[in-house]
Symmetry: C2
Subunit: 199 residues, 2 copies
């Protein structure tokens, strides 16, 4: 196997274990055993579980990136597009619930650099998607705003604040799948009002 | 002095010290000394600093309650009313910054019962104010919504989420007065869009 292929195989094996047993309960040894890989060889690619975890997160979030973007872009009506965006995000969380749950280990202040970097990439990707949706409404003369990016930032700040506060208040537990559907319902109501107002 | 008057005097003395030196740096002994009160006498009214702190919070938030409500109610245009509501809230935080800073000691999960009770009172008061504003818009046929209370809850969830996330992300420090003005600016933009939409 080439180095790249070996690296991909490790990520795939880790993904399976993380998804099935959770991240906390999975050891590097188990992942190495799954691939009949020596410890030295495994650690050559990923010096610790955290760096492997970050690689898995990157892998799963990039896997459907283009497809997701195409689906969102295909929606001509901004409100439909933003609801689709929210649906896709929640589908992702529910699909990889066991993997994402591990993020609860960290707060924004204790987040290690490997994950911080990833999160700032996610942040800019989400923000571009929302900006594109709002810009579409502006181009269609449905939205009368001066700066699509700034409006998207405001939308995202309040959306993220709501999610973050919901997740933090739920204590040491990551919300379960059903709770994420409750969050989604509120997010959609919020998006509808944000786009259309109360009148 | 009657028991009630003595209690009020203790609250006033604590308020002065808390506002001037901060809560963490103020001791019960100092407050007792200010009033030439014996330790036993002081502890008869307030068994610990936390119960005195809760009493001070209650006192300052009730002091202008009726006046604030009258000002908000006098605004006929819902958007003006909600901006005034947000102004009043920020004025309060800035005025009592030294006292409120101490709340940063707790998270929603470690909040002691004395403060939890107070916060659920604040929560219902804020929610009534927002509901009244939205209901006014509904009565004026400016807002076309079915349930003012539910709409107010949604507004408040996202508003509080934004504030909470801002305060938490700022680490172990309570945001300074200038930062609260930045928060206020975003809150007003948010309220404008929530009420009027993007069109």
């Amino acid at each position: 196997m080439s180095q790249d292929k070996k690296r991909d195989a490790i990520i795939e094996a880790a993904l399976k274990r993380f998804a099935h047993f959770g991240v906390a309960k999975t050891t590097m040894t188990e992942i190495g055993n799954d691939l009949s890989l020596s410890k030295a060889s495994l650690y050559y690619y990923f010096p610790d579980k955290l760096s492997l975890y970050a690689a898995v997160l990157k892998h799963i979030s990039e896997a459907t990136e283009k497809k997701d973007e195409a689906i969102i872009t295909s929606k001509e009506i901004p409100l439909e597009a933003i609801h689709t965006y929210l649906d896709i995000r929640t589908d992702f969380i529910i699909k990889y619930h066991n993997i994402l749950e591990y993020l609860k280990t960290y707060t924004p202040l204790t987040m290690p650099p490997e994950l911080q970097e990833l999160f700032s990439y996610f942040y800019s990707r989400e923000l571009s998607r929302i900006t594109a949706i709002i810009e579409k409404g502006k181009q269609q003369s449905v939205f009368h705003i001066s700066d699509s990016r700034k409006t998207a930032e405001l939308f995202f700040d309040f959306l993220e604040g709501f999610r973050y506060s919901f997740i933090t208040r739920s204590g040491n537990f990551f919300p379960d799948k059903k709770q994420f559907l409750t969050i989604l319902k509120k997010e959609k109501e919020f998006a509808s009002i944000f786009f259309k107002g109360l009148s």
